[in-house]
Amino acid sequence: MSSVTLSNTAIRQPNKVTLFFRYLRRNPSLTFGLLIMLFLVIFTVHGLLTINTKDAYPLAVRPKMPPSFQYPLGTDFFGRDLYAAMVIGMWQTAVIGVFAGALGTIIGTIFGFISAYFGGFIDAAITSICQILIPIPAFLIQVIIAGSIDKRSVTILTMAWVVLLLAWMGPTLVIRAQVLSMKERQFVSVAKLSGMTSLGIIFKEILPNLLPFIAAAFIAQVFQAVFASFYLAIVGLGPVREPLLGNTIWSAQTQGAFFNGWWWWPIGPAVAMILILGSLALINMGMDEMANPRIRRSE
């Protein structure tokens, strides 16, 4: 509560759009993150509309060309246009990230709600599974899973599934903790007194208040998914045929790109990846700040 009590004649509030922009000014990480994200989306969409998809695959163009007007990011050892490869790679990264992130968040939210609302044995089971799985480095398990799949049949979607398998524990625990604290809030008791059922309370009273947390969990999950798929690709467990950003770096690495003087090969995808992960991290941070505003003390 602020030290200022609003009177009957409430102070006129500026409209929502103005308020949103004003808020962005105070939350630079969210603003920068969103701006970078916007840039990446425009880049990818524009690219998808203009490139020839075939150029992103081997033997399409003259190999080993440094950046030029025709090939803004150069071409690689296998004869791929690195610009086309980057556009496709970004698109595929987005697909993996959003797919695994969304599904992980949904599963986590459902488990979190079930665990917190019903408690007892179900809660104990779900939380212990999460707690036991969390110390196990997800990446290593993903290495095993990805390594156990026939390399030739790995696709973008299998990547997403591999990443997803270990992506639900985080949101489960976060949502569970939030629901537990919400359950103790008095408006839940009042809703009970007002005749609401358990299910009604979950969906109409608790869930709306958790939306910011769910959104934050989603962004965090997308980040994790992109990160994990990138790591898998960079150690050579990605879908080898696809120009996924990590794959491009991996093949540059295996062909000794730096030693051979093809410096442009890994640099492009590396910068793209930094921008993607960086913008997600910034948005996530900005949302954290939004969800937990500092409570100013007052009398």
């Binding site: 030290s3 200022v4 009590t5 009177s7 004649t9 102070i11 004003r22 007052s298």
Partner: protein
């Protein structure tokens, strides 16, 4: 008698998105040594802001616009930051509202007492600091073992008493107690109040008790100051306040109190406290005042001293009336 505390024209504003809120508006107050005054008002009336301003602890977006806080002849507002650090606790001490969380959970009580002394007299020998801390604990009727304990090992009342003990370590001239009992049961509340009165008498300090419980004021204060919308509307002795309150707001406040003799007769104050962002013109209380006159709407009343000794800010009194 020379006053030990003089607050002159103190003004504090908070700068919010919606504009500037005057949380404290030209407040004047005087207090003699050993005198106890209660500062009452609704939430948002500026009581706590007053305490923080006197300690010079107003933080952005708040700011002391102007005014002086003179303790024992020294104007605190003119001190450098380093000098102000020294003045806190040794000149003017603060006993917090949230005693539950006011002690560092990971260090012993004794260490927290000693670091307070050390900040003011770094060269004092260790055993002397220790002796002084133990004496302060004794004053608030706590066992010496508390010195070696952690905050979580103490009950709420004990924590509040530790805070009082810290407050009197350096025998300050003025003690500000900010709702020190609001979270406590009646019996503990009374114990804490009696402890404050006892240590106050021992060191002869002036006390400002901030709160909204008129009962507490009646039980243990000498004077009562009433705040409304950041302004001090009346300062009277307890006797005067409870028998013949002057300002219409004080009168309404007294009327709203439950009495012991007749059951079921009490009435609230109609209307709502105004927003500090858009205060009514003239006297801020006029929209709720039953005795409001035309000039109350436009002209801000001046502070004046009545024959009874009460100081009141209202057009009903003085030459104009």
């Amino acid at each position: 008698m020379k006053p030990v505390l003089k607050v002159v024209d103190l003004e504090v504003s908070y700068y919010t998105d919606a504009g500037r809120a005057k949380a404290l508006d030209r407040v004047n107050l005087e207090l003699n040594a050993g005198e106890k005054i209660g500062l009452v008002g609704e939430s948002g009336s500026g009581k706590s802001t007053m305490a923080l301003a006197m300690m010079r602890m107003i933080k952005p977006p708040g700011r002391i616009e102007h005014g002086q806080v003179i303790v024992d002849g020294n104007d605190l507002t003119s001190l450098s930051d380093e000098q102000m650090l020294k003045a806190r606790l040794s000149q003017i001490a603060y006993i917090p509202q949230g005693a539950m969380n006011s002690l560092n959970p990971v260090t012993r009580i004794g260490a927290q007492m000693i670091d307070a002394i050390k900040a003011h007299s770094p060269n004092m020998p260790k055993d002397k600091m220790r002796a002084r801390s133990l004496k302060a604990l004794e004053s608030v009727e706590l066992k010496p073992e508390v010195f070696r304990m952690y905050a979580h090992e103490l009950s709420g009342g004990m924590k509040q008493r530790v805070c009082i003990a810290i407050g009197i370590l350096l025998e300050p001239k003025v003690i500000i107690a900010d709702e020190p009992t609001s979270a406590l049961d009646v019996v503990t509340q009374r114990q804490v109040m009696e402890t404050i009165n006892k240590v106050q008498a021992e060191i002869g300090a002036a006390v400002i008790l901030i709160g909204h419980d008129m009962g507490l004021m009646a039980q243990s204060m000498d004077k009562v100051a009433v705040m409304y919308a950041g302004r001090l509307v009346e300062v009277s002795t307890v006797k005067e306040m409870f028998t013949a309150p002057k300002h219409p707001y004080s009168q309404a406040l007294i009327r709203s109190l439950p009495k012991l003799d007749v059951r079921g007769v009490f009435q609230g104050i109609p209307g709502l406290a105004p927003s500090l962002l858009r205060l009514p013109s003239g006297c801020a209380f006029h929209p709720r005042c039953q005795e409001a006159m035309d000039k109350c709407k436009t002209l801000r009343p001046e502070n004046q001293v009545l024959a009874s000794g009460s100081r009141v800010t209202c057009h009903l009194y003085g030459e104009g009336a």
